[in-house]
């Protein structure tokens, strides 16, 4: 649960606060758990809602979105930029120190639009199945996959820029 709250929060302090709030909320709502879903699904949903509420009420959140890292194309459908190395992202761990990369990526996750962030965290990072994540988020599988794809594209572009030293 901590890993989930940290990834949704974007920094250690908020991740720990949200973890505590999640458990308090879960205790308060324990009577509402009817056993219709797995307990873990129910707890994840509480953690996500707590994280989203926390973020909305917090003044400290990144405002600069990651849209600029989406791939861009010419009118004929080809990549707009042919002067850059699109494989740089694959090598980012060799270029950036581990702690620094963690800080950058947590911050980058928090810059993803909310619907993409939650989808990426559940499916790509927590490795939840699409079916389970769809239930937790209350969206159909196609919508969920679209959100994961878009979030992944933004993160890929961000990693590219970090590896090339264009963004820290």
């Amino acid at each position: 649960v901590y890993r989930l709250t940290l990834r949704l929060a974007g920094n250690v302090g908020d991740g720990e606060d949200i973890l505590q709030e999640t458990f308090l909320n879960a205790f308060n709502k324990l009577d509402s758990f009817r056993g219709r879903s797995h307990f873990s699904t129910w707890l994840y949903r509480i953690a996500i809602n707590t994280a989203l509420m926390h973020r909305r009420s917090s003044r400290r959140h990144a405002t600069e979105p990651l849209d600029e890292y989406l791939p861009q194309f010419r009118r004929d459908g080809r990549h707009k930029r042919i002067d850059i190395d699109y494989s740089a992202a694959s090598r980012v761990e060799a270029v950036i120190e581990r702690r620094e990369l963690m800080r950058l990526l947590l911050a980058a996750l928090s810059r993803l639009p909310e619907r993409y962030r939650v989808a990426v965290v559940l499916c790509d990072l927590e490795e939840m199945s699409s079916a389970a994540a769809s239930v937790v988020l209350g969206v159909d599988a196609a919508t969920l996959r679209q959100r994961v794809h878009r979030g992944r594209l933004m993160l890929r572009g961000y990693l590219d820029a970090v590896a090339r030293g264009e963004r820290r």
Binding site: Y2, R3, L6, R7, V12, E16, L19, Q20, F23, L24, F27, P71, F73, D76, G77, R78, H79, I82, D85, Y86, S87, A88, A89, S90, V92, E93, R98, L101, M102, L105, L106, L109, V120, D124, L125, E127, R145, V148, H149, R152, L153, L155, R156, L159, D160
Partner: protein, 80 residues
């Protein structure tokens, strides 16, 4: 789709491609494009490893101090 895809068509379908969910004709068109487009091959490779890199890099455990605080809260809440 019988013709090779463009880069934007390829990128739009990458998730379905890596998850092996593309219909055979679209898969052939996408792969025909990859043969001629080193940019999209690079893009595909990095797209594929992005979740793994982000997952590995944000793998953390709760600090002892935070675990103690959480434990104290749980104990307090459970107190009869």
């Amino acid at each position: 789709m019988n013709r090779p895809m463009t880069c934007s068509e390829t990128v739009r379908r990458l998730m379905d491609y890596v998850d092996n969910r593309l219909p055979p004709t679209e898969r052939r068109s996408l792969e025909a494009h990859l043969i001629d487009c080193p940019r999209c091959v690079e893009f595909l490779q990095s797209y594929r490893v992005t979740p793994q890199i982000v997952r590995r890099s944000t793998q953390v455990v709760l600090s002892r101090a935070a675990a103690r605080r959480l434990h104290a809260i749980i104990k307090h809440v459970l107190k009869p």
